[in-house]
Symmetry: C2
Subunit: 253 residues, 2 copies
DNA sequence: TCAAAAGTGTTCAGGGTACACCCATGA
DNA sequence: TCATGGGTGTACCCTGAACACTTTTGA
């Protein structure tokens, strides 16, 4: 929580630089040790959790704004980002507003206005991210998707919508290039799908189907050293992958 | 095009009532005589065509704003409306701004600001619509989808994105309840699908597939009076339809 | 040598595709 | 009676789902 002076300073800065009434919130998905992770922020001195978010500069395309915001939180550039919904209930930021209400007259306080928020979700490589808190937060870090705290504002809804969109996307687009390390085994990739969908898939059918998409390259040498039979290593075939991204998997009609 | 006085009046009104930087643009699809139609507006005294659009009242949920805007243009309430994308390029409204540039200082002119626009598409019953021009337009009416004029601003892109989204939607949701009259024949419904997808479908396979979705009721009496064999009349089974809307058609994974 | 992980193959059923045939009706 | 539109049925193939067997490897 900011002091009155900090709030004044922040509000003036924000009003000068950012578009009013607009914010961006990001659901950042990562994958590590068979667990789906989401990047969350925790307020200073409070048990209040938020999705990473920010505002749009006055002359900035919204895609770039989302990129910039995520770069500040993760250190990553050129992230896979997908806009998925605008949340525009007039009361959606009510609680947030309340927090700083009374501290300043509304016309002075950046946070007291109404904000529409544009939801983006991102898929990132867990190992490449260096979570970085912002000035409102004492903590920015990964959280297991099946061990999420209660989120403030409508961030619970934003998260849920992002997850639904991601699941839908699995049906007609490839997923994984941004979530997996360069090389991985088939069971590891399967675990990713199982985690996103929250259900078990058949080993053999998964393999056949995924390979059928033509988006994977198999390395010559299998991984060694582990116990049991050495699994093959795969990497994404960027060309096939991008083609599948634009064309989609199944015909439908 | 407005006069200077009208622009001042409009700007003052707008600034008082609407959220700044935000607009809504709607792609309204209708279907008539085997043709897909789109609702367009033509500027007064110019060959400039636009999608119907508007702004969001300061305390209004965005869904309601889209509904209100469409009601003003079509006379219809409770339309099937689907948010599909936000267009946020800072230069997207440049041309539009230019039109009224110089007439007023920017801080006075509502149109000179940057606008993000939220795209909605609507599916409506052609016969129920009474197109109604707004104060900027001399004409509001249906236009055949394969005979579209050039659209101003980025409305071409917005339209195209809406159509793509609609086509994608055909794969996992039922379409037609909002586009067809109460009762219709199977060939008529097929024509709708063919028009949206812009390709021919097999008569028999279409019928089997559509019926398999369990969203249609067949009337006892076939339509009479036409030449040739009398076709059966169908209507949508609202319960099944809504179930299919929420559940979706195909499993995917 | 055995349990567990991983690679590969086979069978079966259901759905999509491509057909052909029959019926009704007005010109 | 025939061209046309419309309803119904069938054969085939492909794909996805379910399932079994073999190979590798460290304990």
């Amino acid at each position: 929580m900011l002091t009155r002076e900090e709030l004044i300073e922040y509000s003036d800065e924000a009003r000068k630089n950012y578009l009013e009434h607009i914010s961006i919130d990001c659901v950042v998905f990562g994958f590590h040790e068979g667990q789906m992770k989401v990047l969350l922020l925790k307020n200073i001195g409070e048990e209040k959790w938020y999705l990473p978010g920010g505002f749009v500069l006055k002359r900035e395309p919204i895609e770039m704004a989302a990129n910039r915001i995520l770069k500040e939180r993760t250190g990553l550039d050129q992230i896979f980002l997908q806009q998925f919904h605008v949340f525009g209930d007039p009361d959606r930021s009510k609680v947030h507003n309340d927090m700083y209400d009374g501290m300043l007259p509304p016309e002075k306080n950046w946070f007291s206005g109404r904000f529409l928020t544009i939801g983006y979700y991102a898929l990132v490589d867990f190992f490449e991210v260096t979570p970085q808190a912002d000035r409102f937060s004492e903590l920015c870090g990964w959280r297991d998707m099946d061990d999420m705290p209660k989120l403030e504002l409508d961030h619970e809804l934003i998260f849920k919508t992002a997850l639904d969109t991601l699941r839908l996307q699995l049906n007609y687009q490839p997923i994984g290039y941004n979530l997996m390390p360069k090389e991985f085994t088939m069971p590891e990739l399967q675990k990713l799908y199982e985690t996103i969908l929250d259900k078990k898939l058949d080993r053999r059918n998964f393999q056949r189907r995924i390979l059928g998409f033509g988006i994977l390259n198999r390395a010559e040498q299998p991984r060694k050293g582990g116990a049991h039979k050495a699994p093959y290593l795969y990497s994404f075939d960027l060309e096939g992958y991008k083609h599948a991204l634009t064309e989609g998997f199944k015909g439908g009609w």
